[in-house]
């Protein structure tokens, strides 16, 4: 008998707490596969954030630190600077990274901090039950934008990847999606590349992964995947926004 599919070594044998239809589980798996693929598990330190992924330290089977809301890039900086041979990644949602943690993520990128950020964008605050996020789409109804996000009151969604790609310290910035198998495989390649960039000391790497939140979007899982494809991708176009040139190093 041949094993064709198994749990990555970088994932612990712990059931996820995520809601049915949420794509966090897929993104955890992609991150773990990238750690396996690059062969760095025993020198990897992950940083969990605050939000739905607050318990991600239970799932990644490597050394982990749990960071305060939005501060994961600063915590990761502290780790990476004193232990430059470790592979350091953060796993952050859009409330954490794009709202309360904007200063930390912008300056980690500007410093060419040699860390990898997995940025999960589901356009809403999940853990705290569906409030408007900086990434919430115009017109999208949430607990704190009950009639839909409007420009007059709430301004525009933040495109983190495009913004960070303008910084010279960013080595690899990509936005990917998880709405179907083809895109999951593309996302897998992007996450592996981000870890590879760090291993080659090429600078700051971030993969923005579009993700669903069926419960707080008020949709069935399949409907949520469709909504992500139809509404989120137009607002958050997929692609690589910057990639290191051959032989480029920052460190």
């Amino acid at each position: 008998m041949t094993t064709v599919f198994k749990r990555p070594r970088a994932l612990s044998d712990t059931p996820f707490h995520y809601c049915p239809g949420c794509t966090h589980g897929i993104i955890h798996r992609l991150t773990a596969e990238a750690i396996d693929e690059t062969g760095v598990l025993d020198r990897t330190v992950g940083v969990a954030s605050v939000g739905c992924s607050v318990f991600s330290y239970k799932y990644f089977d490597c050394d982990m630190q749990q960071a305060a809301h939005g501060r994961a890039p600063a915590v990761a900086t502290g780790i990476k600077r004193v232990l430059p041979d470790t592979i350091v990644f953060t796993y952050q949602g859009d409330g954490d990274l794009a709202s309360i943690g904007t200063a930390e993520i912008v300056h980690a990128a500007a410093r060419a901090e040699n860390i990898t950020v997995i940025f999960v964008n589901n356009a809403i605050y999940g853990m705290t039950s569906g409030q408007m996020a900086p990434t919430t789409l115009l017109g999208q109804k949430t607990a704190t934008s009950p009639t839909g996000r409007c420009v007059e009151a709430n301004g525009y969604p933040i495109q983190i990847s495009e913004m960070l790609a303008t910084l010279a310290g960013s080595a690899y910035i990509a936005r990917v999606s998880t709405h179907n198998a083809k895109h999951v495989l593309q996302a897998r390649r992007a996450v592996i590349k981000a870890f590879d960039v760090q291993q080659k000391k090429q600078g700051f790497s971030l993969v923005e992964v579009l993700s669903t939140c069926p419960v707080n979007w008020g949709m069935a899982p399949r409907e949520a995947l469709r909504w992500m494809e139809d509404h989120m991708i137009p607002a958050y176009p997929l692609g690589e926004f910057c990639a290191p040139k051959e032989g480029q190093t920052h460190a």
């Binding site: 025993d42 630190q65 960071a67 305060a68 900086t77 502290g78 780790i79 004193v82 470790t86 200063a103």
Partner: protein, 353 residues
């Protein structure tokens, strides 16, 4: 080695490096700027990491990350910046990470001023951030103590896996005095809990989160037991002219320097005054104060704040003696003469000036 004339902030930074501090994260703010400048100039030559963070918030979280990774790490700031660090300090206390935080206090509230103050006493000794936790707090009163306590702070931080704050002020940071350094390196401490990559062992976790109330209460109780042991072992104070004292002045830091001179003035006037100087502000040295209170010796508390430590002095005295306050604020420093006059009042006398 002999004595060197140095600024308090520089002496503290030099002593920290000699104690094996190999990582510093900070953000500019007056009157502590000599500390990051000294670290930027000298840490790299010892193989250490200096990083100017984008904010005090980021700096303290870098300290969290580096401490969790096993480094001997510190940060420094001044009052408004220390307010910004409170969230991170709470997480560090919750995760039980060793680190040193220096507060070179300036006057507040708000942006206040840049002159010396002791207005952050409550914030330092009562917790400061959210949740139930304590820092160990040391109060230097000379440039020599700025250096000695930098070293002692790392010893205590690593002994108790707890944040330690050095609570100085603008005068202690800026003034120059002769200082002597020890060449004795601080031994490395085993940190088997550090997140340094899980090669050949189970993964480590640095964390303050525990959403099960039954289990979080056990963590809280364990922290309380630790703080109680810290109270038993780490109380520190100085007594001056205490043996025959009819009245004590109680002061720490810069205020204690003026108080010490005031004791001399008072003694020349025939007032048998003494000084009790708390050196550890947490744990607060209530033993000598309780002893004085039992003998009904009046206690004059002198502070550069609205009167914060005086509350802890009253708790220690438990109503058994008179506790009264003399204080200056806003960056003003009490003079020995005005303290001596207060001592005289406490004994029903007058000082001839």
């Amino acid at each position: 080695m002999g004595k060197i004339l140095m600024k308090g902030n520089d002496a503290l930074a030099e002593a920290a490096i000699r104690a094996g501090c190999r990582a510093y994260f900070g953000y500019p703010i007056t009157p502590q700027n000599e500390i990051p400048a000294y670290m930027a100039a000298h840490l790299p030559e010892h193989g250490g990491v200096f990083l100017q963070a984008e904010s005090e918030v980021a700096a303290i979280n870098m300290v969290y990350g580096a401490a969790g990774a096993g480094a001997r790490v510190m940060t420094s700031s001044s009052s408004p910046g220390i307010s910004l660090k409170q969230e991170g300090i709470s997480y560090i206390a919750g995760a039980e990470l060793p680190c040193v935080i220096v507060n070179i206090m300036r006057a507040g509230p708000g942006l206040g001023g840049i002159h010396p103050s002791q207005g952050d006493y409550f914030q330092a000794v009562k917790g400061g951030g959210h949740g139930d936790y304590r820092m160990i707090v040391l109060a230097p009163a000379s440039v020599q103590e700025m250096a000695d306590m930098a070293r002692q702070a790392f010893v205590l931080a690593e002994k108790w896996n707890n944040p330690v704050m050095i609570l100085g002020d603008g005068i202690l940071g800026q003034m120059m005095e002769p200082v002597e350094f020890t060449d004795q390196p601080l031994p490395a401490v085993e940190k088997p809990w550090a997140t340094s990559g899980a090669k050949g062992r189970r993964p480590n976790l640095v964390n303050s989160l525990d959403i099960v109330p039954e289990s979080l209460e056990q963590r809280n109780l364990a922290l309380m037991r630790k703080y109680e042991r810290i109270r038993q072992e780490e109380m520190d104070w100085e007594e001056v002219a205490a043996d025959d004292a009819d009245i004590f002045v109680v002061a720490y830091g810069t205020a204690a320097r003026a108080a010490k001179s005031a004791v001399d003035i008072a003694r020349r006037e025939g007032i048998r005054a003494g000084l009790i100087r708390p050196i550890s502000l947490y744990p607060f040295p209530d033993h000598p104060l309780a002893k004085a209170a039992e003998r009904q010796i009046p206690l004059l508390v002198v502070e550069m704040s609205s009167g914060q430590m005086v509350e802890d002095v009253r708790l220690a005295a438990q109503g058994r003696t008179t506790v009264y306050l003399h204080h200056r604020m806003g960056g003003m420093v009490p003079t020995p003469q005005e303290i001596a006059e207060e001592l005289a009042k406490g004994c029903g006398k007058k000082v001839q000036s």
